[in-house]
């Protein structure tokens, strides 16, 4: 071979050598320099055992825990160690059958192998735990593992304190993977707002695994371990006894109550009706109880104190008076000759409860008698003030006042998902009325109706502003955090800041209004709220409302603060569809004020407490809503499972026709209900005043 060339042979060898060097280089890179697989390799031998800290405790104003921790037990099984046990006896003890026993064991083996302990039953009920402990020696391979669980010692504050639940994938994502699958996180209420404080700091113990994945000891003698730090406690303003009372009063009623200390903005009690026992949402029955609560048309999971939007009705009148006084369109001695109806816009609407001459001879009397004509008149005077040129500009000024009083905006309470109520903007009115509207169009804004909506929290806050003569602190629950850090202080600083947006309103104006509110209790509509020896200032409201275009019974609304000289408590109560303000909300306020100010109840209040808590005030539409919800879900599940037994109950009057028991009756073809229908049925159903069709006549007292 003439072209055979020795040097070429060397070149080829060099090429092969180069290729192998590249491969070797990459191997060295992967195994020695790159950290890419380091984590994986270490996971093989080292197990990072998470040590969960105890969650922080929430205390009331007197240092009494209202949300605490307790220990519950998971029943663990190590399948390899389960030998020669009396399976039947065990199943009897644990209320399961043998098939389920076998299934659970198999599941444990599949999930976690034979030799490692897995959860067999999570969170045993105390009875089951006791039963198991008695018989522990008979069942090798089973043992109990302690797990901290939340507990609510006073059984109160369900909607306020919130609950914890397993972290969801979105929450893991949002926390940039800080949380891990199976962690617990505050889902609602204070548990959620103060999650970072309450959760504490997780600890990690590094353990060595053997070839069968069993933990055999500490890695490097625990040199890298970090200890868990318990969550820090919260000291709140809540007065547990007041809270208990408030929740008791709202038994079988819809609505909300908020009691605030006007001097600090601290919320003393907040209840939403109907309420439930917060302990139902801890421990083994969480899922079952949560499902049941979710399926109630009264929606107990909803915190109506911050999410219930109600027309304030006459309780708005003191605010309206303050705005008019500050704008200088009236003086405290201004009177209106009301003859029982307001004729300023023609049509004689709204009507007024009183028609005797002189019941609105001045601001004080008009407030005491809750004269609709008077406050409609002064509202119109404000927005039609010639100073501003047009009703839209005048309305904008009025709207600004409303926002300053905390209406139509989120106050920023330390609970998640607060609603902002409604103060309709100029632009919105322009849209609704196609640009042609005037002060007559929305004249009932003067008496807290039309499209005005406020949450009980906003009402309570507005009372605080009146009681404080112009300033307020953002309502909040947490007074201080245990071992407060800089971040905590930064967070709480928003609640420690005094908002003096309305101090420009003169003291004379405030005094006039406060005197009017005092008269409401002394000679006016709120005489039920009188407390001997204490000067209570209050305002009743009986708010018209509509549900799906149909007028419902009025909401019973009440705002008050006491004592007049040195206000210590401000309360706002809304009893949904309760009727007259004084009847329900007024009496409830008195009970709460007595409890807080006198630390005891008078005999009259004790009797009232009993009778009120035993009275059921459920809006007329609730049973129907419940029926719709139940039958919708029954139909949904009947479709899903092809089993209509449960569904028949909801077919009015129709009993299932028993033709042939082997045949499944299928009435479902015509009643296919999409899954999302259920959600539609559960729309916000409290009052939304549709003022286009329904201009309230006169229901304000």
């Amino acid at each position: 071979m003439s072209v055979f060339n020795q040097s070429r042979s060397y070149i080829i060898r060099a090429i092969f050598l180069a290729v192998f060097l590249v491969i070797l280089g990459q191997l060295v890179n992967l195994q020695i320099f790159s950290r890419k697989y380091h984590e994986l390799a270490r996971d093989n031998a080292v197990f990072a055992k998470i040590v969960y800290p105890e969650r922080g405790i929430i205390f009331d104003r007197n240092g009494k825990p209202i949300l605490n921790n307790t220990i519950m037990f998971d029943l663990m099984v190590t399948p390899a160690e389960v030998k020669n046990i009396d399976t039947v006896a065990f199943c009897k003890l644990m209320n399961i059958d043998t098939t389920e026993f076998r299934e659970r064991i198999i599941e444990a083996i599949i999930k976690n192998s034979r030799v490692r302990p897995s959860i067999f039953i999570s969170l045993l009920t105390p009875q089951m735990q006791a039963r198991f402990e008695e018989n522990n020696w008979r069942f090798s391979g089973f043992n109990l593992q302690a797990r901290p669980v939340r507990t609510y010692p006073s059984n109160v504050g369900a909607q306020v304190l919130g609950y914890i639940g397993e972290v969801s994938p979105t929450e893991i994502e949002r926390s940039s993977k800080y949380y891990r699958m199976g962690d617990y996180i505050g889902k609602n209420g204070l548990e959620r707002t103060y999650e970072s404080v309450l959760m504490g700091q997780r600890g990690v113990e590094y353990m060595i695994k053997d070839n069968k994945n069993r933990l055999v000891g500490h890695y490097e003698n625990g040199e890298f371990d970090t200890t868990a730090t318990a969550g820090r406690g919260l000291k709140t303003f809540i007065d547990v006894e007041l809270q208990q009372l408030a929740e008791k009063l709202f038994t079988d009623k819809l609505g909300g109550v908020v009691a605030i200390d006007p001097k600090t903005g601290g919320i003393l009690a907040m209840a939403s009706g109907p309420t439930f026992n917060p302990n139902d949402l801890t421990g083994p029955d969480f899922r079952k109880n949560y499902g049941e609560l979710q399926m109630l048309a009264t929606r107990p999971l909803l915190n109506r104190a911050i999410k219930g939007e109600y027309p304030p009705g006459s309780t708005f009148k003191p605010i309206g008076g303050l705005i008019a006084l500050d704008q200088g369109v009236i003086t405290p001695s201004y009177g209106y000759a009301c003859g029982g109806r307001y004729y300023g816009c023609g049509g004689g609407k709204p009507a007024c409860t009183h028609s005797n001459a002189g019941h609105a001879a001045n601001l004080r009397l008009a407030t005491a008698n809750s004269c609709n004509s008077y406050f409609t008149d002064i509202y119109r005077k404000v927005v039609d003030n010639p100073k501003y040129g047009s009703v839209k500009k005048g309305y904008a000024v009025w709207e600004e006042y409303m926002h300053n009083f905390g209406f139509g905006v989120r106050l920023g309470v330390d609970l998640p998902s607060e609603d902002n109520g409604n103060v309709t903007t100029v632009a919105r009115y322009d849209k609704i009325y196609k640009n042609s509207w005037n002060s007559c169009t929305n004249l009932t804004l003067g008496i807290g109706q039309d499209q005005m909506l406020a949450t009980p929290l906003q009402l309570a806050n507005s009372v605080c502003i009146i009681a404080n003569k112009g300033y307020y602190y953002t309502p909040h629950f947490v007074d201080s955090i245990e071992n407060e850090t800089i971040a905590d202080t930064a967070f709480l600083s928003r609640y420690r800041k005094k908002h003096s947006v309305l101090t420009h309103i003169s003291d004379t104006a405030y005094n006039a209004i406060i005197r009017g509110m005092e008269d409401v209790v002394l000679i006016g509509t709120a005489r039920t709220a009188q407390i001997p020896g204490i000067n209570v200032c209050a305002k009743t409201g009986t708010a018209q409302n509509f549900h799906r275009g149909k007028e419902q019974k009025e909401h019973s609304v009440f705002v008050c603060f006491a004592p007049k000289e040195n206000p210590k408590i401000a309360i706002a109560i809304v009893v949904q569809n309760g009727g007259y303000g004084a009847t329900w909300a007024g009496r409830m306020s008195r009970i709460l004020m007595e409890q807080y100010l006198l630390d005891s109840l008078t005999d009259k209040s004790k009797a009232d407490l009993e009778s009120i808590s035993k009275t059921k005030i459920i809006p007329a539409f609730i049973p129907r809503e419940q029926y719709i919800m139940d039958s919708t879900s029954a139909a949904f599940y009947a479709n899903l499972r092809k089993d209509s037994t449960n569904y028949w109950k909801y077919l009015r009057g129709d009993k299932p026709v028993k033709k042939d028991s082997s045949k499944v009756v299928t009435p479902l073809k015509t009643t296919k209900i999409p899954a999302n229908k259920k959600v539609n049925e559960r729309k916000e159903y409290w009052a939304i005043t549709d003022n286009k069709k329904n201009i309230p006549k006169a229901a304000n007292i």
Binding site: S2, R8, N211
Partner: protein, 268 residues
Amino acid sequence: MNQRKTEISKGVDYILIIVYFILLAIGLLAIFAVTYKDGDPVLQSFIGYKTDYSKQFYYACVAMILGLFIILTDSKFFPATANLWYAGGILLLLLVFPFHSAVKGTESIIRLGGFQFQPAEFCKISVALALAKYLSLPEMDFSKPKSQLIAAIITLVPAVLTVLQKETGLALVFFAFFLVMFREGLPPIYIVIGFVAAALVITTLLVDKNILAIILTVITAIVIFFSQRQIKRDKGLLVKIILIWLLCVGVQRFGVPFYSHMFLKNIR
């Protein structure tokens, strides 16, 4: 008989066989290490033919027996039948087009019952045989372009067919035969171009395209700088250099992204 035995043992390349066994063991161990599940009985699952490593083990045994037969076969048999093997391999490759079954994105596999057969793999051997036979023809003069062309065709036909079967990775293997041809007298320029092209494609995939374009330009500038004298003599050289630069940047900018895009689409 005795005489024959010694002949065989003389012809055996022991180092090669040891390397073969080592590779076999490494492969088996690697499969075992990643697929063995905690608690499986080792011996039973090795014999059971259910796990991957068990199958690998059985095929290794089959291959060893086959290897034994090949060693025992007269060495003249292979040159004599080389072209037949090659023709058979090409035929199988062509049969793939009507009879393939798509497995994991490739269309190069024929399935016969539970047995999967990939003709492209078989073709590696037949090409090696055919090329060896061609190169060792007594009248061969590999410096002739005609001979080089024929050798290239022998190699590239199965490569092209394999590419058409969406087995680009396997097709690349055939280019290794150019190293053999290089040893027999193929002008080095082909090898250089091949390696440069490979390097260009790989760097395109690894390096940001703007940075790579700058690097290529800098290299071109350096080359021009150092060949100023030659360029003075022959202006055509400058044009050539610039054309090469344009080609490289073109490949790096458009060629590879386009191809890898198509490639990814095929995989999906």
